[in-house]
Structures are given as structure tokens and as C-alpha cells.
Symmetry: C2
Subunit: 205 residues, 2 copies
DNA sequence: TAGATTGTTAATCGATTAACAATC
DNA sequence: TAGATTGTTAATCGATTAACAATC
């Protein structure tokens, strides 16, 4: 059983390795990676060892190879298809951001406001929320990103589920009946800031 | 020593309790709270017990009282002063969102683009990044939120630190030399989505 | 008082670390 | 080969759970 924390750290290692590559470094030691990512060297080796032996004993890890390996583990070596629901302030900011990430393919965005239908944010067309179910039948997606008010979230979740979407990230907190087999993750900036504030207060003492 | 996971869960309990209050419920059992928040009842009691005995044996927790207690623990029973640096797409979305949260007081926002200076997002005035240090001397802040390109982050962090800001949330990933005593937290939607995708894939099997 | 649920202790579970044999 | 660093094992650490005494 692989700890979820391991998966989160793989993302961190990956970003660190990409920076290393950009700098022209071609080998990375577990100790270097550990130092740059703020963890211990044995944890880096342990994390990687869950998925196989990527290193060369006595030498370290080949940066290029390890990047590809981690991308493979995370499944981002091929495009991940995403639909976005809600194109308000936050939604359109996310939409613009995600379009910059090479391995995300944003299929379409959906909004209830008919004045937005047919318009684009970057390359992505905005459609009616009513079309979501039908759209997914033609265009299967792996992930959904929701940035609408809390009241509408349950309906959207159900439609996404029927459309075959297995993972959803919601920026609206709501009490949701999550279909068995779907993964729902809430992202709430207020909660994150509360947590940060608590840690910062403790630090001061 | 209080686990960080406990603090994160307090946020979750708090939001659940507020919904309970809005529904007119005035007592909450650890078992109910646990079920709604997706954790075990003993964990709820354990989490709360780190900070004292808030419950009534045989009865449960008074919703109103517990809300106030948790707010006190998190320190959100008084305004938390925040400055925002970077008022692009994401920055202005965050700015609007944070203004809706009653216990955050957004003192000002800062941007390098001089065409934005003097304008407002909601109630918050946009100022020049060059003013940040001086502004903080007159207007102390607890937290900083950064949404600018990665290259500028280190400078901003240093200015915030000199201005007495102890906690910073950055939406730009960058390799940062964090001053001793400051807490820096990165929020990266791409990483979150990668993690979600991994969990969703596993779920399917 | 009897019934119920908290707060707390001890047991369990899981994740991280330290150490070292394997090996490039 | 000698030196270095990985991959892995066992020990440690910390967080969660189960159980129950305390008590409203």
C-alpha cells in the first residue's frame, strides 16, 4: 500500500527535477533532491522504491529518466481530459492557468449564464450547463473542475458521474452525496489560509 | 504536540457546525460530526480534546459554543489582516473571494502594472509593488497572498518578511530561500489535479 | 437513578528514519 | 578494485482507533 503522501511528494520531486534539467544537471542524488524538497534522503529513496529501482547504485538518478518515470507513475505522460464547470472570476482564472499545462487537455467549459455561451477563454469554448451530459457522451473526460456556487454542485456531480468522470475538484464547499467510485476533492482557499495562519502564529513563539 | 492534520480537521468541523447551526441544530454529537466529515467519532473527540473539554458528557457538544471555541483555537475570532501581491486573473479572483470571508481583512493589493494602480477590486485598492515595504510599516499584516510569476516571488517574500508578515501563501511555485520563522505554503492547482487523477485512476480498479 | 456520550488510555496501525548490504 | 550511493530491512516515531471509566 502506497501512502498518499508519497504521491504528493512525487509531484514535488518532479517539479524539482524539471528545474534541475532546465539548469542542465543530468544526475540527481537522493540527498540533493531531498534537500531541495525539504525531506530526508531515505524518504526520497523509499518513495521511489515503491515503483521500482530508478537509480544507479553509486551514481544517483538520471534526471531525464526519472522525470519520465515519475510522469508515467502519475499518468501525466498522456493528456488528461478535463471539463470545467463554472466560468466566473475564479473559473476563468483556472481555465487560463490549466491551458498552460501541457498535459491537461481542457475539452470545454460550461456556465449557466447564456451571455457567455459560445464565447472563449483562451482556446476553450463556453457551453451551456444543460449540454454537459450530452457533451460527455461524445467527449469522455477523466476529470472535472467545479467553480460554481455550492447549491448547484450536487447536480453537476451527478451529471459528471453519469458522464463517466471519476475525479472532481470543487472550489465550492458543499455537503455532497458522492457516488461510490468517484473521488471528490475540495479546494478552499479560506481553509488553507486559516491553516497557514495557525502555523504562522505557532512559529512566532 | 498537536498533529497538523488535527488543525486541518478543525476547519472542516467548523464548516460542518456552521451548516448545522444554519439548519437550527443546537447540539452535535461526535458521531454525527464524524459521519458528516468522513472521519471516526473517536478522532473528533480526540481532536477536540487537545484543546480542552468542550462537550457535555451524555449530551454532546453545544453547536454554538463549539463554533466559537474552534474559531478561538484557529484565531479567526478576530480579523486577520492580509495583503495580496499580484492582481492578474487569479489574483483578482482570490481578492474577490477573500473579501466575502468575514474574518479576513484585506488591507491592500499590489501589482507592478501601473495601469492598475489606484483602481479597485471590490473595496480593495491596488497599489504599486514598490510601496509594499512602506505600506506594511504603517499597516501591519499577518498574512500575504502571492499570485505573480515565479521570478518575482523571492523579492516579495523578503519584503513581506521585513514588513513583519509571518505567513505567506504563494500560487507560483519557485525555489525560495524562506526566512527562518516564516511559513510559506504553496498552492498549485496542477499538482492537486495530478494527485486527484492518481486517486481517481486507482479507484476505478 | 438509568442512559448516553464524552474524554482519555492503551493498543493498533501506518509512515518515516536509520543503518547497511547490494552493487554500479 | 575502491568509493559511492542506491534499495531494502528493521527500528522508531507519530497518528488513529477501540474500549471504557468518568460523568452529565
Amino acid at each position: 500500500m502506497i501512502p498518499e503522501a508519497t504521491i504528493r511528494r512525487l509531484s514535488v520531486y518532479l517539479r524539482c527535477l524539471r528545474r534541475a534539467k532546465a539548469r542542465g544537471e543530468d544526475m540527481a542524488l537522493s540527498s540533493l533532491l531531498a534537500h531541495r524538497c525539504g525531506v530526508s534522503a531515505s524518504l526520497v529513496r523509499k518513495d521511489l522504491s515503491y515503483f521500482g529501482g530508478f537509480g544507479i547504485k553509486g551514481k544517483g538518478y538520471r534526471v531525464d529518466e526519472l522525470i519520465r518515470s515519475i510522469e508515467g507513475i502519475l499518468g501525466i505522460d498522456r493528456p488528461i481530459r478535463v471539463v470545467q464547470i463554472g466560468v466566473g472570476n475564479l473559473g476563468s482564472a483556472i481555465l487560463r492557468y490549466l491551458q498552460q499545462v501541457p498535459y491537461f487537455k481542457i475539452l470545454a467549459a460550461f456556465d449557466i449564464d447564456e451571455r457567455k455561451w459560445g464565447k472563449r477563454v483562451g482556446e476553450v469554448e463556453i457551453r451551456s450547463c444543460g449540454e454537459l451530459g450530452e457533451f460527455l457522451r461524445e467527449n469522455p473526460a477523466e476529470l472535472g473542475v467545479i467553480s460554481i456556487p455550492p447549491d448547484g454542485v450536487q447536480d453537476v456531480i451527478d451529471t459528471l458521474w453519469r458522464g463517466g468522470v471519476k475525479g472532481v475538484m470543487s472550489f465550492a464547499l458543499a455537503e455532497i452525496d458522492v457516488p461510490e467510485g468517484m473521488v471528490l476533492q475540495f479546494v478552499d482557499i479560506a481553509s488553507e489560509l486559516e491553516f497557514l495562519y495557525y502555523k504562522a502564529k505557532k512559529q512566532k513563539k
